[in-house]
C-alpha cells in the first residue's frame, strides 16, 4: 500500500511562497546567490529579506518548465557563455538574457527582478564567476563571495574554520555598508539556530531510509529538500521539517513507504538526475529498484556525523544538540554556522577523493545497498563530474555498479538512450549478483 505524505503540500507551498516573495517584493531586500552558502547573515539585515538561490532555482525551473529551461540554456550560449559551463549557471543567466523569470508555482514573470545584492560562495571554479556574470549583465550588482575552501574533514580543521569565519565576519560588515542597514545580531542568531536546526533535521529524516522498506525514495527526497535549500533560516522551515521527521518516523514504525515495492536498494552518487530524467526513475521503479540513499539529496542541505576517528559515518546528529548550542555572541553563531556548512557531505568530496570514497563505502554498507548508481554530471565543475569516474573502477568488482552520462539540468547533454540501456543492465547485474550471493 503506497503511503501518501501528509506534509507534502506544506513543503510545496513554502517553496512557492519564497519565490513569490522574491519576485513580487515591492519593498525589502532582494538577495541573490548560491544557497550553498550560509544564509543567516542575510537575515541579520531585517525581517524583509527575500532570497533567491542559484542552484535550487535552476533546478526547480528545469523541473517545472523543461522547454523554457532548454531555451534559457541556449540563450545563455547565444549570449556567449561557454558551451561547457555549468548548466545551472547557464539556465540562470539565460533567464536574465531573456529578461524573465519562471517560478515553481507555474508562472513566468516578464522582466527580471533585479537583486539588491549578491551574497554567495566560491568553491568550484565557476561558483562565483556565475554571479560575476550576473552582476555584469545587470549593470554591476554589488557582490560578496565567500571562499568555502572545502575539502574532506574541513569543519574539523581550525585553520579552515577560522578562514571562513573571518570572511563571514568581514561579509557582515560589507552587508551593513552596502545596504546602509544596521545589522541585528538578535535576528542573525535566531536565523543561525534555525539554519543549523533544519540541516540537522533533514539529516535525521534521510537517515530513516536505512530501514527496510525505506520510507522515502529519491524522487520524494528531491521534492522535499528544496525548502531547506531555498531558505532554511525561518521558524516555519524548522516547523515543517519537524513535522516531516515525525511523519517519517511514524512510517518506519508502521513499515510504510511511498514505494512499497523495493526489491533492490540503490545508493546513488550524482546530481538529482530525475529533474531531467524522469524516464530513468520510471525504469528503476518498474524493476522494483529504488534509490534509498543519495549523497546529493542527503548531503546538500543535511548534516551527519561525518568523520569519526578517520571513518565516515552517516549517523545523523541529535536535533536537541542544536537547541543547546551556545550562540550568545555573533562570533559564536558565525563559527557554529561555518562548521555546519563546511560539514556538508557534498563539500567533503571536493578535492578530497578519499572522503568521497569513504562516503560511498559507508553509504553502501549502512544502507545495505544492492547496487551503486553513479551519474557524473557533464557540466558540474565539482566532484559531481569527476569524483565518480574513479569510484566506478574501485567499486565495480565489489558491487553491481553502473555509470550514467548525465548533466544537472541540460537535457542535451544527458544520455537518455545510454542510461536506459545501462539501467536495464544494472537491474540484470543486481539480479545476477543476488543469485550468486544466494547460491554461495
Amino acid at each position: 500500500m503506497t503511503y501518501i505524505l501528509k506534509t507534502w503540500d506544506e513543503f510545496k507551498n513554502y517553496q512557492r511562497t519564497c519565490y513569490r516573495n522574491y519576485v513580487y517584493a515591492s519593498e525589502g531586500l532582494r538577495c541573490m546567490g548560491s544557497t550553498w552558502s550560509v544564509l543567516a547573515p542575510l537575515k541579520g539585515l531585517g525581517e524583509d529579506v527575500y532570497i533567491i538561490g542559484g542552484e535550487p532555482h535552476a533546478a526547480s525551473t528545469a523541473g517545472t518548465f523543461p522547454e523554457e529551461s532548454r531555451e534559457d540554456i541556449s540563450a545563455a550560449e547565444s549570449a556567449g557563455l561557454g558551451f561547457h559551463s555549468c548548466s545551472y549557471l547557464k539556465l540562470f543567466v539565460g533567464e536574465i538574457v531573456r529578461d524573465k523569470i519562471a517560478i515553481p508555482d507555474g508562472t513566468i514573470k516578464e522582466g527580471y527582478p533585479k537583486p539588491d545584492l549578491i551574497w554567495t560562495t566560491h568553491l568550484c571554479t565557476q561558483h562565483s564567476k556565475w554571479y560575476q556574470e550576473v552582476s555584469r549583465r545587470l549593470g554591476g550588482i554589488p557582490m560578496y563571495a565567500i571562499d568555502m575552501i572545502g575539502g574532506g574533514n574541513a569543519e574539523k580543521d581550525p585553520k579552515i574554520v577560522k578562514y571562513v569565519c573571518d570572511q563571514i565576519e568581514e561579509g557582515i560588515r560589507w552587508l551593513e555598508r552596502v545596504t546602509g542597514r544596521e545589522f541585528s545580531d538578535e535576528l542573525f542568531i535566531k536565523a543561525a539556530r534555525n539554519e543549523i536546526k533544519v540541516l540537522v533535521l533533514w539529516g535525521n529524516i534521510c537517515a530513516l531510509n536505512r530501514h527496510a522498506p525505506a520510507p522515502l525514495d529519491e524522487r520524494r527526497l528531491i521534492a522535499l529538500f528544496p525548502p531547506a535549500m531555498v531558505d532554511r533560516t525561518t521558524d516555519q522551515t524548522v516547523r515543517i521539517y519537524e513535522a516531516l521527521l515525525k511523519e517519517v518516523r511514524y512510517m518506519v514504525e508502521t513499515g510504510e513507504s511511498v514505494v512499497p515495492d523495493q526489491r533492490f536498494r540503490i545508493v546513488y552518487f550524482g546530481l538529482a538526475h530525475t529533474y531531467g530524467h524522469p524516464e530513468i526513475a520510471r525504469i528503476l521503479r518498474d524493476a522494483g529498484a529504488e534509490i534509498v540513499a543519495s549523497v546529493y539529496t542527503f548531503g546538500t542541505t543535511g548534516n551527519f556525523r561525518g568523520f569519526v576517528n578517520g571513518n565516515w559515518s552517516w549517523e545523523p546528529l541529535d536535533p536537541a544538540w542544536v537547541d543547546e548550542l551556545d550562540l550568545s555572541s555573533r562570533r559564536d553563531a558565525i563559527s557554529a554556522l561555518a562548521k555546519i556548512v563546511l560539514g556538508w557531505p557534498t563539500w567533503q568530496g571536493v578535492r578530497s577523493y578519499w572522503a568521497l570514497e569513504q562516503m560511498a563505502r559507508a553509504m553502501v554498507t549502512e544502507y545495505k545497498a544492492d547496487g551503486l548508481l553513479l551519474a557524473p554530471s557533464r557540466s558540474c565543475e565539482t566532484d559531481f563530474r569527476n569524483g565518480y569516474i574513479a569510484i566506478q573502477r574501485i567499486f565495480k568488482n565489489e558491487i553491481p555498479t553502473v555509470e550514467y552520462d548525465t548533466d544537472q539540468v541540460d537535457v542535451r547533454k544527458m544520455d537518455l538512450p545510454g542510461s536506459q540501456r545501462k539501467t536495464e543492465l544494472f537491474v540484470h547485474l543486481m539480479e545476477a549478483h543476488k543469485k550468486r550471493v544466494h547460491d554461495k
Binding site: N397, D405, K413, G418, R421, L425, H428, L429, A432
Partner: protein, 264 residues
Amino acid sequence: MSKEKILAGLDAGHVNTKVIIMRGQEILGYCTVPTGFDVVAAAQTALNDASDNVGISHGELGGIVATGIFRDMTKVPPLNVTSTVPEYVADAKGALFLNKNSRTVIDIGGNIQKAIRYDQNGNLLDVNQNDKCADGLGIFYTTIAKAIGLSEQEMSELALKSTNNLFIAIQCAVSAESEAIDLMCQGRDIADVADAILRFIVERVADMCTSMSLTKEIVVAGGLAKSQALIKHLSSLMKQDVSALDIPEYVGAIGAVISYEGGK
C-alpha cells in the same frame, strides 16, 4: 539446445540487422541488411534472404530468437519471433560458442561498445558500456572510409603499412573526423591517417575496458573486429592478447539462437 530444430537468431542493431540460421551447433547461413530506421522491414528481409540461401522457407524455421537494441520491436506478427534476449547476454553466449576459452568479449557495434565478462557457462559477471562521447565509432569508421574513398578493408590494410605515428583528438568521432581531414589537408600520407583513425577507435574502446577487470581469453565481436590493424593496436594498447572471433558481426545473433528456450 534442441538438436533437430532449425533456429534463427535475429540481431536488430542500430545500423545493421543480422540473421543467422543454425541447426544445433551447425551454422547453416547468415545475412546482414541495413536497419535503415525500419526494424521490422529490415528483419523481414534479413530473415527471408538468410532462409533463401540456406534453401528453406521462413516458415520452416523452428524458432526465432531476437536480440539487439531493437529486439523488442521485432515482436510483431509477420516475424513471429519466439523470444528475445538482451544483447549483452547474447554476446556472452555467442562469444563462448565461437571460442570456448573466451571469458571476455569486447563488442564494437555501429553505435555503441560493450565489454562483457562471463563464466565458463556464459553467465554474465560484469559489463561496461561506452560513454556518450564514444558513441558511433562503427558508423564513423564506415563513413570516414567512404569519405576518403576507401573500403573498410582497404583502410585497415593501409593502416598496417603506416610508417609514422600521427595523432587525432580522441574525444569523439566528430573531432576524430575533422582532425583526420585536417591531417589530409596538411598533405599527410593516407596510410598514416588511416592508422591514426584506427588507433583513435582502439583508444576509445580500450579505455572503456580498463575500468573493469577482464578475464582471459579476450575476444572481439562486431564488424570492426575484421580489421587486423584494430586487433593489433587493441592488443598492444591493452597489453593483453585479444583475438577476433570468426564472423564477428554475428556473435549476437548466434548467442540469440543458443539462448533459445533459455539455452536448453
